[in-house]
């Protein structure tokens, strides 16, 4: 139904935008192994996005590509965290750390969704997200405990993104009415934050004391980056409307 589709869109858009952001690292990573690892994570997320958008599309007779390439900025539902710029490797790892912790808790619960498709997607995604979370945690430790510079940069990455953490846990519109189909974001808050706290402190870093940035309805009204991301992602598809590739 439509509400489920709108829920799938929220999950799918987060995954798609983050995949898009991460893919820009390929050929630019600090070492070859990281080119491979970041591409892997981006590919996983893109895979999740494709399942979720395809599923959402069934409610409106649309394909994954219709939804990815022909929705406008205000129709996307991604959170601001995934829209933030890659920054340096520390900032990217900070974003990965926060988002994969949230996603891990989310999919752990979503495997029990009463919607069998969502449950199946979550099941497939879960072991991949476990790897993403581990990858981010390992790098957080390496950077936090590596050199003075790396600790500084990793902390700066966390500080820079922390005001977008709260948005992840807001029970926006279609979610509250979905019952056991969906996982209420607010229900993930505590365990996600405590997982983050554990890793951040283990890495000798500080959990930022920064409140959430105003505006958290995933409408894109409060983001300046989404437009740039979509402009680049959609340019070719829109130059050739109706074409197949």
């Amino acid at each position: 139904d439509e509400a489920t589709a709108r829920y799938a869109l929220i999950l799918g858009d987060d995954a798609l935008i983050l995949a898009q952001r991460l893919s820009a690292w390929i050929s630019r990573a600090p070492e070859l192994e990281e080119d491979v690892a970041l591409a892997n994570i981006a590919l996983d997320l893109l895979g999740h996005a494709r399942f979720l958008l395809s599923y959402a599309g069934t409610a409106w007779g649309k394909t994954e590509d219709d939804l990815a390439y022909f929705r406008d900025e205000e129709e996307f539902r991604s959170c601001r965290l995934v829209e933030q710029e890659n920054g340096d490797f520390g900032q990217t790892i900070a974003r990965q750390l926060i988002f994969s912790a949230y996603q891990l808790q989310l999919y752990r619960r979503l495997v029990h969704s009463t919607d069998p498709t969502l449950a199946a997607i979550a099941d497939k995604a879960l072991k991949e997200v476990r790897y993403h979370q581990d990858h981010a945690a390992q790098w957080t430790l390496r950077l936090g405990l590596g050199t003075e510079e790396s600790a500084h940069r990793m902390q700066a990455g966390l500080d820079s993104l922390w005001s977008y953490v709260e948005e992840l846990f807001i029970d926006v519109d279609p979610l509250t009415g979905l019952g056991d189909v969906a996982v209420l974001p607010s229900s993930l808050r505590e365990e996600t934050l405590s997982l983050l706290q554990e890793i951040i402190e283990q890495a000798g870093l500080t959990v930022p004391d920064i409140s959430g940035a105003y505006g958290s309805d995933r409408s894109g009204r409060f983001s300046e980056q989404r437009g740039y991301i979509l402009t680049e992602m959609q340019v070719l598809a829109r130059q050739h409307p109706g074409a197949t590739w």
């Binding site: 390929i26 050929s27 895979g47 680049e232």
Partner: protein, 313 residues
């Protein structure tokens, strides 16, 4: 003396030389140069196609392209490993690339300007690479030959994907068809030049042949490639931009026109359209990542100390 004899025996029997075996210095040097050049080509080769990941026109194509560029990083990794068995470290090889002392395939100094170029690179550039590489699976140096087996398997997959991109474009809208034809027009010549200069102009080949590293001459491989792509181009519905391309019944091969070797040598000397850009992209990434690599090293050292402390206790 014993080593020398054993080495000659291995070569004569067309067997594999392994890292523990004695080998003549020039053999080792030739291999390090060739394998690291090949690895560098994989690394630099990530750029032209990588340029289109964020703009790929469908999510499926985006996923395929991302996986392909990732494969290239992977190929780089195991080729550097193969070269390391010859006693040169990856850092040393990367440093040669960084400082511009190492070569890589000139083809990657051409831009991937349109999406169709991604198809043309897959079909023609990977196609030429495979033609070159299949015989290298039997290269006398074991780690190299084995790495090539893995590389070739994935490359033929990539060539297929490139061909499919072009096929969709060629059978799509007029604008798509035009885009595909233009890409083939641009990449045909440079792809044929990937086999290196004409045999008459290629001094190092004979020794590599004698060592069972190289199995066929540049011109032989080029011919083989042309013979392969002509029917493939037909099937694509695209034209190869060479008016002299005709079937020669007598030779049992396609004849083809002269290539622009002035361009080739100019690009080889570093004057390719994007030669500087490719190297700067690589250098910027390496510079930007220096602090990360330092942190990883410091952290690993720390781990070792912790372990020593534990063992000492």
């Amino acid at each position: 003396e014993v080593g020398q004899a054993r080495f000659e025996e291995l070569i004569a029997a067309d067997s594999r030389v392994e890292p523990r075996d004695w080998m003549p210095d020039p053999y080792r040097k030739t291999l390090v140069r060739q394998v690291s050049q090949h690895a560098h080509s994989e690394i630099i080769g990530m750029q032209p196609e990588g340029n289109w990941i964020t703009r790929a026109p469908s999510l499926k194509r985006k996923a395929i392209l991302m996986a392909k560029v990732q494969d290239e990083a992977g190929h780089g990794l195991y080729l550097y490993s193969a070269a390391e068995t010859l006693g040169t470290s990856r850092d040393e090889m990367l440093d040669q690339l960084y400082t511009g002392r190492a070569k890589y395939s000139s083809i990657f100094n051409y831009p991937a300007r349109t999406w169709a170029d991604v198809g043309a690179i897959g079909w023609l550039v990977d196609g030429a690479a495979i033609t070159n590489q299949v015989p290298l699976c039997r290269a006398s140096y074991g780690p190299y030959g084995r790495a090539m087996v893995r590389v070739c398997k994935e490359e033929s997959f990539h060539q297929r994907q490139g061909w499919e991109i072009l096929y969709s474009l060629s059978h799509g809208t007029d604008a798509q068809h035009r885009m595909a034809q233009e890409a083939v027009d641009r990449f045909y010549g440079p792809a044929l030049q990937m086999f290196g200069p004409p045999d008459s102009d290629s001094p190092n080949s004979n020794q590599s042949m004698a060592w069972n590293i190289k199995r066929f001459s540049n011109d032989e491989l080029r011919q083989r490639f042309v013979d392969m792509i002509v029917p493939q181009a037909d099937a694509l519905g695209l034209t190869l931009p060479d008016p002299h391309l005709t079937w020669n019944e007598e030779r049992g091969h396609y004849d083809f026109g002269d290539l622009d070797w002035d361009e080739f040598f100019s690009v080889l000397k570093g004057n390719g359209p994007l030669s500087r850009q490719r190297l700067e992209h690589y250098r910027n990434a390496r510079d930007d990542g220096a602090w990360v690599r330092e942190a990883a090293t410091a952290y690993a050292r720390r781990g070792q100390q912790d372990q020593s402390a534990l063992l000492g206790a």
